[in-house]
Symmetry: C2
Subunit: 334 residues, 2 copies
Amino acid sequence: MNLEQVARRAKVSTATVSRVLNNASVVKNSTRTRVVKAIEELKYYPNLHARSLAGGKSRTIGVIVSNLENPFFFDIYKTIESDAHARGYEVVMANTDYRSEQLVSSIRLMIGRRVAGLACIVSEMAPELIEELEQSRIPVVFYDVGRPRPNITNIRVNYRRGIEKVVDYLHSLGHRKLGFIGHHAILGPINERMKAAMDAVARIPSLEVRAAADADTLEGGRQATRALLASGFAPTALICVNDIMAVGSLRELRERGIGVPRDMSVTGFDNVKLSEFCYPALTTVDIPRERIGHIVCDSLVPRPGKPPAADPEVVIDPELVLRDSTGPAAAREA
Amino acid sequence: MNLEQVARRAKVSTATVSRVLNNASVVKNSTRTRVVKAIEELKYYPNLHARSLAGGKSRTIGVIVSNLENPFFFDIYKTIESDAHARGYEVVMANTDYRSEQLVSSIRLMIGRRVAGLACIVSEMAPELIEELEQSRIPVVFYDVGRPRPNITNIRVNYRRGIEKVVDYLHSLGHRKLGFIGHHAILGPINERMKAAMDAVARIPSLEVRAAADADTLEGGRQATRALLASGFAPTALICVNDIMAVGSLRELRERGIGVPRDMSVTGFDNVKLSEFCYPALTTVDIPRERIGHIVCDSLVPRPGKPPAADPEVVIDPELVLRDSTGPAAAREA
DNA sequence: TTGAAAGCGGTACCAG
DNA sequence: CTGGTACCGCTTTCAA
């Protein structure tokens, strides 16, 4: 089923069919009607590949995330998608599962698709990519990794400040031995997040910390918690790298009869919806995911009226959100 | 950046470049090396649109889901994706948010992309579509809606049996007044799920039921619960259409000081991971999401060796999973 | 083993 | 307002 068949049936040229399809230039009303009729009768749908090949453009933006299963990424994705749709763009998504080879192949896939813009909301990185990306001339925005470059924008959260707020708060509650629950992707001192956490603790001499990591899932949070507790270290508070892992942690503690926050304080990060719905509701750090999504879309899709969102780098300062999963360390002795 | 430029740099024809790209037919080794070098130096990535246009095929399958935010859909999606990748296929996803106009445009988008196969894991439906789909000659699989057709496979869960198991179980625990928490998409007696629930209750004369619905989210579950309780009806058990809404329900009950399962029993559906991690862990009905994902992929992507997964219709019988959110109705009087 | 050239299904420019 | 036609970038015969 192609343009030509439709053209034949409507007794016009393919050019005209194309015109009504894109309701471009003026087509006589009677002709248009005939064409539309033919299209419907044939249930014709234009081949999008041919279209973007011929047109040279794609009206599609690519979004790559580390773990769509984590609502944090999903929320950002969803915002981008809805903004993009509102501007007449499609979006294609790719999930890397924190694997940098996946990131590489996803990025290449996106380049192959000649997307109009690319958002990489990922924690992992592959240095060789930025050059390829720069060459591709595709507008790119990175979240959490990378550095500003010619055609690439950077959005980052001041994770360091966020984690400091958590540490200070726990310290003020009397906690001295802290556990850090991370996921594999942030393992190792190379990682900004891990480093930030360690540094935040190091500022305060009386503090002691120990970390454990597992997958970025509910189950991973549970396992990491189990591992940490099995190590013999006895923290009175657990700082989790995100809310999902914190919920996993909560479960492990519950099964061990460790009361939260009575015997152990737990903090999350991101402030995803679930953090309010779990029990106890999590003290966490808010990362404005919708705002991030909007910024991403603004810097990728040039709006008609507005200026093309200049800033090559945007930094977001996260806020502490107090709820029920944290309490004074002293309570434990009661 | 295109084939021709690479060809020029490697001093060969575009045909040859194409050959090494698809490592088809025999290319002399020295030539191949030269071409590969040119490709790398130029950081060339083939235009996928041109490729699928010329080749006539796309090695991409489309997956449309109602609400990716609900892990139920995500789990199926993820299985399909990993199976597809294993077979050398890409997958493009679309989310409908239960809106049937979105379903329509997503399906058309997929047809436009000339996907090699299409999976519709959705609850909503638009009758006019099946004809278009049939005409498109694309292999399609529907979950939960639709009827088998020439090129379309159907997978369905015997929701009726599942809900009966829940109702019977609650009845055996002494519950007589049941609340049903659904989401908008299943509202109205037209919907299979809603009907199944009502029928399951109707089988047992002593039972009384009242329903409320809201969005398919944690917050929606909470709101629906609030609405139901505000109506004056006083159930001793709440049957939720899925786990996510059940977790939302749990929160509302907790804030009202209604103990679960002491004062109220709550059941979920799907058995997503979260149902084990929430508090109390949910009694639910297991739907084998991975199995569904595998079946989908098998019926869309013809495997090399195996026969092309015949069955035009697959029915899955779900199992009840008992956990901590249900208990005897009598306990309430204690 | 390699090159030339005819499409694939549209778009868009140029005439008429 | 409509038709003819030269591409878009790649695959795939057909010959050499």
